[in-house]
Amino acid sequence: MKEGEQQRVPLRERAEWSDVTPLPQNDGPNPVVPIQYTEDFSQVMDYFRAVYLADERSPRALALTAEAVQFNSGNYTVCQVRIKFFRLRLFLFISSLLQVWHFRRLLLESLKVDLNAELDFVERMAAGNSKNYQMWHHRRWVAEKLGPEARKNELEFTKKILSVDAKHYHAWSHRQWVLQALGGWEDELNYCTELLKEDIFNNSAWNQRYFVITRSPFLGGLKAMRESEVLYTIEAIIAYPENESSWRYLRGLYKGETTSWVNDPQVSSVCLKILRTKSNYVFALSTILDLICFGYLPNEDFRDAIDALKTADMDKQNLDDNEKGEQQNLNIAQNICSILEQVDPIRTNYWIWRKSRLPLSA
């Protein structure tokens, strides 16, 4: 337990709650599981049920909901396995707390509470545990009520969370909502650049970057952004060619325009550059393979670079200099697949499948 929590006074010993009879959880006629809450939490919930059923819209009820939801935050360390349990979050809500959050919103409305104070409350909670669907949903409800005046605050709040966990799914999701509902797009591309500078492998930041260049009302859309984004991405790829995210982003920049992708010399030359380094070339090879499948004709430089990657024991299609055009391209594509089968053994079957599906014209 953290410091300060030892002083917590149980509800049944507090004067302001002496008129309320706590209401224990009813597990139904034949409880399959007689489960026991830890004592403190169970007591708070007993009082909550009493207040909830009486529909008591009072400041003390509001304070009680705060106490209850904090049990689900890091402010209250139930035991050391807590952290692990938050991994369960994807499909989970804590259902009785669902009710607490709901009731809290009703109270906020009835009591006309200053919603900025509520944002502060959520922020304090998030400092303990920010991976809680209900908290984020609650936060959005409050921000929506406040409208554009909440914009700055919300962008700052998510930034703070992302500074601790830059791939925080809830925080990104909230941030995207803020941008779309309340605005604030102006600095977002710079923000993505900043995060990618810290960690170029951050797929969430790449996703946000794509979100911004395709949806920001200020940037003119994908086509307008392509030229500068291709340059940015190629630089990122050259720095870390093993980065799945940057390669996918590069492909995404040509969404719906495969022909421009195949014909853009920037794409093929970055591949060649990586192949020639002979290290971390899996994505470069697979990109070349995709390009060939869409009609790209690799020149001699490519053939040499790919040949240089072949190992002695490889089941290779020997390139006959007399073969021209289609047959030669097919052989190159087959060689690429053979190399990938070897250097990416966990996905061998995928590369074998790719080899079996090569178009004859490749």
């Binding site: 499909f91 996918r248 966990i346």
Partner: protein, 317 residues
Amino acid sequence: MGELATEKHVRYILSVEKRKDNFESVVMEHLRMNGAYWGLTTLDLLGKLHSVDVDEVVSWLMSCQHESGGFGGNVGHDPHILYTLSAVQVLALFDKLNVIDVDKVTSYIVSLQNEDGSFSGDMWGEVDTRFSYIAICCLSILHCLDKINVEKAVKYIISCKNMDGGFGCTPGGESHAGQIFCCVGALAITGSLDLVDKDLLGWWLCERQVKSGGLNGRPEKLPDVCYSWWVLSSLIMIDRVHWISKEKLIKFILDCQDTENGGISDRPDDAVDVFHTFFGVAGLSLLEYPGLKPVDPAYALPVDVVNRIFFTKEGLK
């Protein structure tokens, strides 16, 4: 490589329901409906569903139903679409779908569909593709898919498709294996898999396998047993499961077992829980591990249960 410690996992699951003194039991209290689904489905896949008193479970489950038709996570809790699906799935396991008022459950779910085709999780309006899957899966089990606007529901899911072939929680949201399962599952159930870029998505999904053999949910994240379900079921639904190394994944899941006390954890040597035990066993079932009942990748129920729902007289009503 060890073997699946079936007996121990059965004992572990039965014990989770009885223990009172640890944090897991406290958490499970609030997720009892989900816990029931995970635990009971695991027991069924292991061939041990008969060790449970059906009437007891069903009577508790029915007392979790709210007047709106939705189910809560436990008695007296607010209804949510998440618990409603778990409740319907548990009833399906026990072949007890006849105890619910289908129209009532259906109208609860129908009421959660929004104008754009998406679904909210409850009356408070949070929107997420998880809820689209839940609504579609639940209504399909109840033979009431025609009560929602399927075309719009599918359109919304497709609007969440990303350039990497994956899906996020809302349009523009990052691709995540959990959300991909939901979207692909919903598209499979509605017969709309032709809208998935199967090769592109399949490659993204098979890139999720890391050296240890385990699967992660997003690039550069740690592997976790629960993705054995989300990634694997998606790969099966789009017919690309042969692209990953099954042997290595089986080994990873088996390495996450607590071979002394039963249960499966997220990663080797971590503490076990019922959630990961379910996803581990269900993952092994998808990998055709011997001795396990086959599980349906879209409905997340044993195949014989799904067949009973759709291919028997009672199922067809």
